[in-house]
C-alpha cells in the first residue's frame, strides 16, 4: 500500500518534533560555528526505532518503505526547514543510492539497498571532480580492469573527487570512474585500501553537512561492485535521475526560503516602528514578504505537479526537474536575502536564523547542476518542442489556459494565457533571426520559459479541486497569489522577451509590442495592488508571532 497523505503528514510531524527536541536553533548555531557534522543526529534520524527516514528511499522488496516522489520531496522540504546541512547529508544518501536504484542488477539492489536500510549506511555520491562538474565528459578518475585467467575479477580505481557531500563520513560511496568501456559507477566501501577521504571543507554555508574530497590510489573493488555489471552505463544512469534529484533540490530551496520568510513575518508583527508594527506597512510587506510567499506557493504547485507525474507513468522529466530547481532555488535564495533585510540589524546577526539560512540556501543555486546549467537545460528541452510543433507548443498551452479562464475566472489563467502566447512569439522571433546562437539569449529564454510554465501550473493548481499538500493559506488567498503571479510573470516575459529580440536582433519595437500582446498584458496589471494588500493581511493571520 503506498504511503497516503495522513501517513505522510504524520511522518513530517514526527520529523518536526524530533528536530524541536534534538536540533533547537542554539544547537544548530553551535554546530554551524564549529563547522561540525552532527554524526549522532544523522544516526538517530536513520535509526528505525527513532525516525528511520532513510527507509523511504529503500524499496519495499528490500525491507524499506518504498516512498514516492511526493513523500520524498515533502520530507526534503521539511529537512530544509530544519537545517539545510542536515538535509544535504540525508539527501546525499538518497543521491548516492540512485545509480544503484536505476542501474543496479536485482542481486546488487537486494544486497546493497537492504544493507543501506538495515545497517543505516550513510552514502556519498562521488561524481564531481576538479575539471568535471556539470560537464562530466572530462572525467579523469580511471577504473582499470583486474583480470585473472581472462576473466575480470575487479577494478583498480585511481583519481580524485571533489565537493563530495558526506565525503568524510559515509559508509558507502558510489563513484563514477572511466572504465575501458566508458564512464561507470562503482560501489566503494569505507576502509577500502587505497581509498582515503580528505579533510572536511570550510564552507560558506551548509556547515553541518560534511563535504570532502576523495582520493583513490589503485583502490581495488570486486567486479560485482560495478553497478549494472556492465561498463559504460554511468552517464546514462546519472542522467536518468536528474528530473527526480533536481526536484528534491527544488524542495530544499522552497523549505529554506519558507523558513526565512516566516521568521520575517513573525518578527514584523512585533517590531514597532513609526507608530505601528512593520507587518502593517505596505512598503515593507509588498517588497520583502508578499512577493516571496507568492513564489513559494507557485514553486510548491509546480514541484507537486512534477512529483505526481513522476509517481504516475512519466519518466525522466529532466526539463521539468530543471524548471523546478531553477525557480524554487532562485526564489529561496532571494527570499533569504530579503529576510535579512526584513529583520534589519537583527537579521545581520547570528541571534536569528535568517543569516544562516541565507548562507545555506545559496548552495541550492549551485549543486545538482548550477542554475545556469538549468537555464540551458530548460532552453534545450523546450526549444525542441517549439521546433517540433512549428511554434505552436506555447500557443497551444495558451489556448488551454484561455479555456481554464472560461471555467475559473479568478486564478489569473487569462494572464497566464497571454504570457504563454507572448513566449511563443518571442521564441519564434529568436528562431527566425537565429538569435539562440547568442548563448546569453538561449539561457535567458530558459529563465523566461521556467517562469511562464510555473505561472501556468500555479493558475491550474489554484483552480484545481484538490488542494496541494503543504499550502497553509486558504483558497481565496491562493487564488489571489496565482493572479499576481500570472500577471507579473506575463509582463516580465513579454518585456524581457522584447528586450532580448530587439537587443540581439532586428525588428520594429511597435510590431513586436503588438505581436506579444504587451498592451493587453499591461491591462491585466489592474488590481495587483489590491491582491497584494489582501495577501499581506492573510499572511499575518496565518503566521502569527507567538
Amino acid at each position: 500500500m503506498p504511503i497516503d497523505t495522513v501517513s505522510r503528514n504524520l511522518m513530517l510531524d514526527s520529523l518536526k518534533k524530533y528536530a524541536v527536541r534534538r536540533l533547537p536553533y542554539d544547537t544548530i548555531r553551535e554546530l554551524d560555528s564549529a563547522n561540525e557534522f552532527p554524526a549522532d543526529i544523522l544516526k538517530e534520524m536513520y535509526n528505525p526505532d527513532i525516525l528511520g527516514l532513510h527507509l523511504l528511499l529503500i524499496p519495499r522488496e528490500q525491507g524499506g518503505l518504498g516512498g514516492s516522489t511526493v513523500d520524498i520531496y515533502r520530507v526534503c522540504e521539511m529537512l530544509a526547514r530544519i537545517d539545510l546541512g542536515v538535509a544535504t547529508s540525508v539527501f546525499a544518501t538518497f543521491l548516492g543510492s540512485d545509480p544503484l536504484r536505476v542501474g543496479g542488477t536485482p542481486e546488487q539492489k537486494e544486497k546493497w539497498m537492504r544493507r543501506i536500510g538495515e545497517e543505516c549506511l550513510l552514502v556519498a555520491y562521488g561524481a564531481t571532480e576538479a575539471d568535471a562538474g556539470s560537464d562530466l565528459i572530462n572525467l579523469r578518475t580511471r577504473a582499470e580492469r583486474v583480470e585473472k585467467d581472462g576473466k575480470i575479477t575487479g577494478y583498480k580505481i585511481t583519481g580524485n573527487k571533489q565537493w563530495i557531500s558526506n565525503g568524510g563520513v559515509a559508509d558507502l560511496y558510489t563513484v563514477l570512474a572511466m572504465a575501458p568501456g566508458g564512464p561507470s559507477w562503482f560501489l566503494v566501501e569505507r576502509g577500502t585500501p587505497g581509498f582515503e577521504p580528505n579533510k572536511h571543507e570550510d564552507k560558506h554555508g551548509i556547515r553541518l553537512s560534511n563535504t570532502a574530497a576523495l582520493s583513490f590510489d589503485e583502490a581495488f573493488v570486486p567486479a560485482e561492485n560495478l553497478i549494472g555489471e556492465k561498463e559504460g552505463q554511468g552517464l546514462m544512469q546519472a542522467q536518468a535521475v536528474f528530473g527526480y534529484t533536481r526536484l528534491m533540490v527544488a524542495a530544499f530551496g522552497l523549505g529554506a526560503g519558507e523558513e526565512a520568510v516566516e521568521t520575517a513575518i513573525r518578527y514584523s508583527q512585533q517590531r514597532i516602528q513609526a507608530g505601528g508594527p512593520l507587518s502593517q506597512k505596505q512598503g515593507y510587506t509588498h517588497k520583502l514578504i508578499v512577493p516571496h510567499e507568492i513564489k513559494f506557493e507557485a514553486a510548491r504547485a509546480y514541484i507537486d505537479h512534477v512529483a505526481r507525474r513522476l509517481d504516475g507513468d512519466a519518466h525522466g522529466l529532466q526539463t521539468e526537474g530543471a524548471i523546478a530547481k531553477y525557480y524554487a532555488t532562485e526564489a529561496g535564495n532571494k527570499a533569504a536575502e530579503d529576510s535579512i533585510q526584513a529583520l534589519g540589524g537583527y537579521g545581520y546577526t547570528r541571534d536569528f536564523p535568517v543569516e544562516k539560512i541565507k548562507r545555506d540556501v545559496k548552495i541550492t543555486c549551485i549543486y545538482e547542476g548550477t542554475n545556469e546549467i538549468m537555464e540551458m537545460t530548460i532552453y534545450r528541452g523546450r526549444w525542441q518542442e517549439h521546433l517540433k510543433s512549428r511554434g505552436q507548443y506555447y500557443a497551444d498551452l495558451g489556448r488551454e489556459l484561455e479555456a481554464l479562464h472560461a471555467q475559473s475566472a479568478d486564478v489569473g489563467a487569462d494572464s497566464a494565457a497571454l504570457c504563454l502566447k507572448a513566449l511563443a512569439v518571442i521564441l519564434e522571433q529568436c528562431r527566425e533571426q537565429k538569435l539562440t546562437r547568442q548563448q546569453y539569449t538561449s539561457f535567458k529564454l530558459g529563465e523566461l520559459i521556467a517562469k511562464a510554465e510555473v505561472a501556468m501550473v500555479f493558475s491550474r493548481s489554484a483552480a484545481d479541486k484538490n488542494y496541494t499538500e503543504g499550502v497553509k493559506v486558504d483558497r481565496d488567498t491562493l487564488k489571489a497569489m496565482a493572479r499576481v503571479c500570472a500577471r507579473e510573470t506575463a509582463l516580465e516575459v513579454a518585456l524581457e522577451g522584447v528586450k532580448l529580440v530587439l537587443g540581439g536582433g532586428t525588428g520594429s519595437a511597435a510590431e513586436l509590442t503588438g505581436a506579444t500582446g504587451l498592451i493587453a498584458i499591461e491591462d491585466k496589471q489592474r488590481g495587483v495592488m489590491n491582491d497584494k494588500d489582501f495577501i499581506a493581511a492573510k499572511l499575518n493571520e496565518v503566521y502569527r508571532s507567538k
Binding site: 504511503i3 501517513s7 514526527s14 526505532d49 528511520g52 502569527r544
Partner: protein, 262 residues
C-alpha cells in the same frame, strides 16, 4: 483483556487566539493535534498492553480529518481504530458526546478498561470521561497519573489536594489520566506510521452504534454557550520593597488614601 482509549483531535491551544471583535476562535494556521492528556492516556494503555498483552482500541468522535489522530494512535501501537463520524454528532456537548462514546463502547463490547484524558485542552471541562462512566454505570477513577492492572482489578494513583490517593476498582472501569510532572510525548517512527495504514480502522455512524439521534448534536445537548471571550488582562500590581515595618506603613497609608480605613 480489552482496553478502549477515548481520544480527541484538538487545535493546538497554545497557538489559538480569540478574535476580540467576534468572540470566535481564530483557527487559521493553527495545527490540530492529539489532545495531550489523551496522548498520555494512550501511552499508559500501551504500557499496560506490553505488560498484559491487552488489546488496545482507540475511539474518537469528530469530522473526517480526526482520522489523523486515530492513525497517530495506531502508529504508536494501538491495535484498532474507530472514528465516530456523522453529521448528527456535530454540535454535541460533553453530555451528548459521552452518550455517543458510551454507545460506541457498548457496540465494541467486551471492554474491561476505558481510559480517557482527564480533559481536552480546547474545552477544559473534564466532563466527558465521567459522563461515559455514568452512562455505562461503571466505576470511575479520575485525575490519575499512574495506573496498573492485576487480574481483573485496576489500581490507579490519583491526584488529590495536597497529595495522592490510590484507588482500586473491579472491571469494567473507567480511568481519566492527568499529566505527570515530567512527560515528553512519544512520536512514532516512519516504519510505525507506514504499518499503521494496514491496521484495522473503521468509521462508525449513528446507525452503527444504534444511538438515538434525539440525544445527539445540539438538540441532545443541555449546554448552551452564551459567549466566548478572552478575559481582559489584569493591570500590573505594585510591589513594595523595604523592611516589613516600612512596607506596612506604606500599605496603611494607601488604605487610608482609598478610604478603606480611617
Amino acid at each position: 483483556m480489552r482496553i478502549a482509549v477515548c481520544i480527541k483531535q484538538v487545535p493546538d491551544s497554545t497557538q489559538v487566539k480569540v478574535d476580540p471583535a467576534t468572540g470566535t476562535l481564530i483557527r487559521a494556521g493553527v495545527p490540530s493535534i492529539l489532545n495531550p492528556y489523551d496522548h498520555y492516556a494512550l501511552e499508559c494503555a500501551l504500557k499496560l498492553k506490553k505488560e498484559t498483552g491487552a488489546e488496545v482500541c482507540v475511539v474518537s468522535m469528530g469530522p473526517p480529518q480526526a482520522q489523523e489522530v486515530v492513525r497517530l494512535a495506531l502508529a504508536l501501537g494501538a491495535d484498532r481504530g474507530i472514528l465516530l463520524s456523522d453529521r448528527a454528532f456535530a454540535g454535541s456537548d460533553t453530555w451528548a458526546t459521552s452518550y455517543a462514546l458510551s454507545q460506541a463502547l457498548r457496540h465494541l463490547g467486551g471492554v474491561d478498561l476505558i481510559m480517557c484524558g482527564v480533559m481536552a485542552i480546547d474545552g477544559d471541562t473534564a466532563q466527558t470521561g465521567p459522563g461515559i462512566a455514568c452512562q455505562l454505570g461503571i466505576p470511575q477513577i479520575t485525575f490519575c497519573d499512574e495506573i496498573s492492572v492485576a487480574g481483573t482489578t485496576v489500581r490507579a494513583k490519583r491526584l488529590i489536594e495536597g497529595g495522592h490517593e490510590t484507588v482500586e476498582a473491579g472491571f469494567p472501569a473507567l480511568a481519566t489520566m492527568s499529566l505527570p510532572h515530567e512527560y515528553e510525548r512519544a512520536y512514532p517512527s516512519f516504519r510505525q506510521i507506514a504499518a499503521a495504514q494496514e491496521k484495522p480502522y473503521e468509521v462508525w455512524t449513528v446507525a452503527t452504534i444504534h444511538a438515538d439521534p434525539k440525544f445527539l448534536g445540539l438538540n441532545g445537548s443541555p449546554t448552551r454557550v452564551d459567549r466566548v471571550y478572552a478575559p481582559s488582562a489584569r493591570e500590573r500590581g505594585t510591589i513594595f520593597t523595604g523592611s516589613p515595618a516600612e512596607i506596612v506603613a506604606r500599605f496603611l497609608e494607601i488604605l487610608k488614601q482609598e478610604n478603606f480605613v480611617k
